[in-house]
Amino acid sequence: MPSTETILNVGLTHYLALSAVIFSFGMIAVLMRKNVIVMLMGVELMLNAVNLSFIAFAKESGNLSGHIMVFFVMTIAAAEAGVGLALAVAIYKKFHEVNIRFFEHLRG
């Protein structure tokens, strides 16, 4: 059990712990949910958790490259969300369902 000092002195470790917890939530959503769009949301959650750890590291080390990485991750996440949603809309138009199970029919 960490001491009161460690608990109250908020630093890098605390932010990393929070980031890890949120990341695991995103991972659980991707692994266990059946709705494709909720899975995409899980991916967004994971990316955001990583962003949080980047910013915490940037603050701790005084190096702004962490901010740049967050900037890039955000851009890529926006692109990923656009493509993912377009694919989901295409699937929905075909099957009227966004359950991941229906993606099996896409073979061949």
């Binding site: 608990i7 109250l8 908020v10 630093g11 890098l12 470790t13 605390h14 932010y15 990393l16 712990a17 890890a20 949120i22 990341f23 695991s24 939530f25 995103g26 692994l31 266990m32 949910r33 059946k34 709705n35 769009i37 909720v38 949301m41 967004e44 959650l45 955001n48 962003n51 910013i55 590291f57 940037a58 603050k59 701790e60 005084g62 190096n63 702004l64 490259s65 901010h67 967050v70 900037f71 890039f72 955000m74 851009t75 890529i76 996440a77 926006a78 692109a79 969300a81 656009g82 493509v83 949603l85 377009a86 694919l87 989901a88 809309v89 295409a90 929905y92 138009k93 075909k94 991941i100």
Partner: protein
């Protein structure tokens, strides 16, 4: 220091609660709305960490654009709340949760043991004009990556238009 701790734990509880709600509520629209709250909370966290510009971008890009897109698409789909929103299989489910927990455990352990390596005392960032430094860094050291991202976005835009106008168009008969 006490106020810092209270602020951090308050925000962290807020974030964890909404992130948990995001992945557990059966109705996907509610999940999206909880995710919006998570994003706003993260923007507050970034602000707290001195990344003011990144916090603003988080609000504009994530909360203001990406999540609006999510909510809009979900509304177009007219989905009802799912009765079984999680995938089947007790054993596989347990394995999935355990693997996630293992990952968190590794992350926490490594974070706790590696913090001492980071020298934090004498390289504390000067909080003056972080935004300006960020811009200079983006257009000098990371210029190539920035340009590549621009091309990526263009390709993605074309690709999304192509996917959504696949043969049959919007009113395809199936």
């Amino acid at each position: 220091m006490l106020w810092d701790a209270i602020g951090f734990y308050g925000m962290a509880l807020f974030l964890i609660f909404f992130a948990l709600k995001t992945i557990t509520v059966p109705n996907p629209i509610h999940a999206a709305l909880y995710l919006v709250l998570t994003m706003i909370g993260l923007a507050g966290m970034f602000f707290n960490l001195g990344a003011h510009f990144i916090a603003g971008v988080q609000m504009i890009v994530y909360a203001g654009a990406v999540m609006v897109l999510f909510v809009m698409v979900l509304m177009l789909f007219d989905l009802k709340a799912e009765i079984r929103s999680f995938s089947r299989g007790l054993l596989s489910g347990a394995l999935k949760i355990m693997s996630s927990a293992l990952l968190v455990g590794f992350a926490l352990g490594s974070a706790g043991s590696s913090v001492a390596i980071l020298d934090s005392s004498d390289t504390a960032p000067t909080q003056i004009d972080v935004t300006r430094q960020l811009g200079v860094l983006l257009y000098t050291k990371y210029l190539f990556a920035f340009e590549v991202l621009g091309i990526l976005l263009l390709v993605v835009a074309v690709g999304v238009v192509a996917v959504s106008r696949m043969k049959g168009g919007t009113h395809a008969q199936h």
